[in-house]
């Protein structure tokens, strides 16, 4: 630039990942590698009922016959699935009976992340399940929730305490045959959250799971299952971080949601896995299958995601709209900075009559980041009078990044309506100059522009988390553009 000043946009995106520390926690780890013995060992460690081991082994045998998907617009060297530790847990000498017994190092980790595990220190209307590597280490507000009839507990606990529910719903939305990573997860999943909201109950507080990867060379394969019975409603949020490491780590999760008649599930994600350094070294591979089934009439499932982390993101939170008049929503902000690659979007499958779906996708690309929206809207022949509205906006910062959009629309009847809008814009020097000439720093100016761009998505987040998302996005953009 003139005057020898560096480009403003260049300066703004060079801050380091804040959550990259490693905790010194003695871990109970199994050997690297994947085979039937390892799977049996995981199942034994978790003292699972027989049907679960059976499920895992079937999934594993199926996985062996599958091939890693190649269709996504992401590039990475081959993953050696035998070089991963599939189970790692902080060592504990006895069964925890209260929060005070959580390993102090683990507790410190969550405090550093801004997630204190003591209930009195927390946001009073949010219950948290904290997952550290392969296990859940603490769940708060269990009493308040169980008084309301809501079950919110680690998945492994649900498998023992509520095997009937787990057996009924596990794999009912995402079968292990669904895709390569879903099969892998089904074979080795370790922990995650389980939530069951009985008939007619509105969950009295926000539920939240915080995932932390800590151990080296370990993958995290969690599984979340949320069931809202007739007329029930629940809002759930997940957040995640990981240490900075030069090696890539794999995170392959499955989330299944089931909404029965008149039930509502709102699922929000703030994904901030370690994205790798500014040269693209390290970072989490985030290969996730998320799907919700609007099984009942008038049911509603809403996905909101803010994806700022991970070296590679491959996820398509989707809705199966089976019940008549059911509603599916997808609100997404995906950021690809430095060498991050994001291939994300949704599938809205309209089966029931008069079903509705809304897709609002905001992709931000900076640095060498590549951001892809991939979506499918399918309206089946019998899904009469159904409607979809899709909006896909891309924001580019600099000249080296990319934005790609692959929308697919299939409409099987003539009574349905589909609308699709898309825009691409660029943060310009004129916008930055305008805001700076009003006294805003360059960083604040970019933050303002980007947050304005994402507004329609942020307003879908629970308020406490909207503020967090706001900050996170500004921070993640520092160091972005050329």
């Amino acid at each position: 630039m003139a005057n020898g000043k560096p480009d403003v946009l260049n300066q703004i995106t060079e801050r380091e990942y804040q959550y990259g520390f490693v905790s010194e926690v003695e871990a109970d780890q199994i050997p690297k590698g994947l085979n039937e013995e390892i799977i049996t060992l995981i199942s034994q460690k978790k003292k699972e009922p027989a049907f679960l081991l059976e499920f895992r082994l079937k999934a594993y045998r199926h996985w062996l016959k599958m091939r890693e998907p190649q269709w996504a617009n992401v590039h990475y060297p081959p993953i050696n699935y035998q070089d991963i530790v599939y189970y790692s847990a902080p060592k504990s000498k006895k069964k925890l009976s209260s929060m005070d017994e959580v390993d102090p190092e683990v507790r410190k980790t969550f405090e550093k992340l801004g997630i204190p595990l003591e209930e009195q220190k927390m946001l009073s209307n949010v219950a948290v399940d904290a997952v550290f590597d392969s296990v859940s280490v603490a769940t708060t507000f269990k009493k308040t929730l169980s008084d309301a009839g809501v079950i919110f507990c680690p998945f492994s606990e649900a498998a023992i305490e509520h095997p009937d529910l787990v057996e009924k719903y596990l794999g009912s939305v995402v079968p292990y045959t669904d895709n390569f990573f879903a099969a892998l997860n089904s074979a080795v999943f370790s922990d995650g959250s389980f939530c069951y909201v009985p008939k007619g109950v509105r969950c009295p507080m926000e539920l939240s799971t915080y995932f932390r990867i800590n151990a080296k060379e370990t993958g995290q394969f969690e599984r979340t299952l949320i069931i809202a019975e007739e007329g029930a409603s629940v809002s759930y949020l997940e957040g995640c971080t990981a240490p900075m490491r030069d090696e890539n780590q794999l995170h392959a999760a499955i989330v299944e949601l089931v909404a029965l008649d008149n039930a509502q599930i709102k699922y929000s994600t703030i994904q901030n896995w370690y994205p790798g350094d500014k040269n693209g070294k390290g970072g989490i591979y985030n290969f996730v299958t998320k799907r919700g089934k609007c099984q009942g009439k008038n049911s509603k499932i809403s996905w909101t995601q803010v994806e700022t982390g991970s070296a590679i993101t491959w996820k398509y939170p989707s809705c199966l709209l089976l019940g008549d008049n059911s509603i599916g929503e997808f609100y997404s902000v995906a950021l690809a900075n430095h060498y991050q690659q994001a291939d994300t979007g949704t599938k809205m499958i309209h089966i029931g009559k008069n079903t509705k779906s809304t897709i609002i996708s905001k992709g931000i690309s900076a640095g060498h980041g590549q951001n892809t929206y991939r979506g499918l809207v399918k309206i089946a022949k019998g899904a009469e009078s159904s409607r979809n509205y899709s909006q896909c906006d891309s924001l580019l910062m600099g000249n080296l990044c990319g934005a790609h959009t692959f929308p697919t629309l299939e409409v099987g009847n003539t009574s349905s309506q589909i609308e699709h809008e898309a825009t691409t814009s660029k943060i310009g020097e004129d916008q930055l100059f305008y805001l700076r000439s009003r006294g805003l720093s360059a960083e604040d100016a970019v933050g303002l522009i980007v947050n304005g761009f994402c507004k329609e998505v942020f307003q879908e987040l629970p308020i406490e988390f909207a503020v967090e998302a706001h900050k996170l996005l500004s921070i993640s953009l520092e160091g972005a553009v050329g």
Partner: protein, 253 residues
């Protein structure tokens, strides 16, 4: 307040400003007139701190300090305001949110306590009233979908909220119908005061009927070729810039 000494600047290889000299004292209103391409907007951008210009010679003192070495945002916080000829749209951000961030950045810079959302709202509503701007502008997204006139009025509202010491108005009158021109001029006039200076850049004498300047300067080909009182504007309107240019050429010859 402002002292511009022999300011020379270029964009790329093109020399735009060729030695501007101008002194603006506190409380004065200076109009800068000139034909297209004379360097009027370049001058305003350089004063406000837009990147992309290379200052090849001269200096600018603002309250005795070297203005050109200050980052853009610091100039604003120190009291320099540029009303844009083409205000920029920022989608998804409301005017009040943006203005609150701007006002608080200034307060912080001055070591004062920042305003809460409530305090700011009453403050800015009051400001909107003084410059006779519709309060509804505050809740709209920054310039998004604004008409040309609304954009200019929004600039005046921002000026009122930021209470600058030196306001540079870059063709604020362009694209305004007569009613909007009156409203904008009124906004400027109520802002006039002994501690506030204005640099009013315009093509036409029309604005100067409403915002009466203390001094008028004619900018041509990167130089101020003539300075005078408000009557100079009328003379220019009547005789055109060619007259001033010829006279300047004669003086040099």
């Amino acid at each position: 307040m402002l002292e511009i000494k022999n300011l020379c600047a270029k964009i790329g290889d093109k020399q735009i400003l060729k030695g501007i000299n101008l002194t603006v004292k506190a409380g004065e209103v200076h109009a800068i007139m000139g034909p297209n391409g004379s360097g009027k907007s370049t001058l305003s951008y350089i004063l406000a701190g837009r990147e992309g210009y290379e200052v090849t010679d001269g200096q600018v003192l603002y309250e005795g300090k070297d203005l050109l070495s200050m980052p853009t945002e610091v100039r604003s916080r120190e009291g320099v305001f540029l009303a844009f000829q083409y205000p920029v749209e920022i989608h998804g951000v409301t005017n009040k949110y943006f203005l609150k961030a701007a006002v608080n950045a200034k307060l912080k810079h001055q070591g004062k306590t920042e305003m809460s959302a409530g305090q700011f709202l009453s403050f800015v509503k009051e400001k909107a009233k003084t410059v006779e701007m519709d309060e509804a502008l505050l809740s709209r997204q920054v310039n998004a979908g604004f008409s040309g006139g609304e954009k200019k009025r929004n600039e005046i509202l921002q000026m009122a909220a930021l209470e600058p010491k030196l306001a540079i108005l870059d063709e604020t009158d362009s694209g305004l119908d007569i009613d909007a021109l009156k409203i904008v001029s009124h906004g400027i006039n109520v802002m006039r005061g002994p501690q506030r200076s204005f640099l009013v850049i315009t093509h036409y004498q029309r604005l100067l009927d409403y915002v009466v300047p203390d001094f008028v300067h004619v900018l041509s080909d990167g130089r101020i070729i003539r300075s005078g009182g408000k009557e100079l504007a009328y003379q220019l309107e009547k005789e055109g810039y060619a007259w001033a240019k010829e006279e300047f050429a004669g003086l040099k010859g």
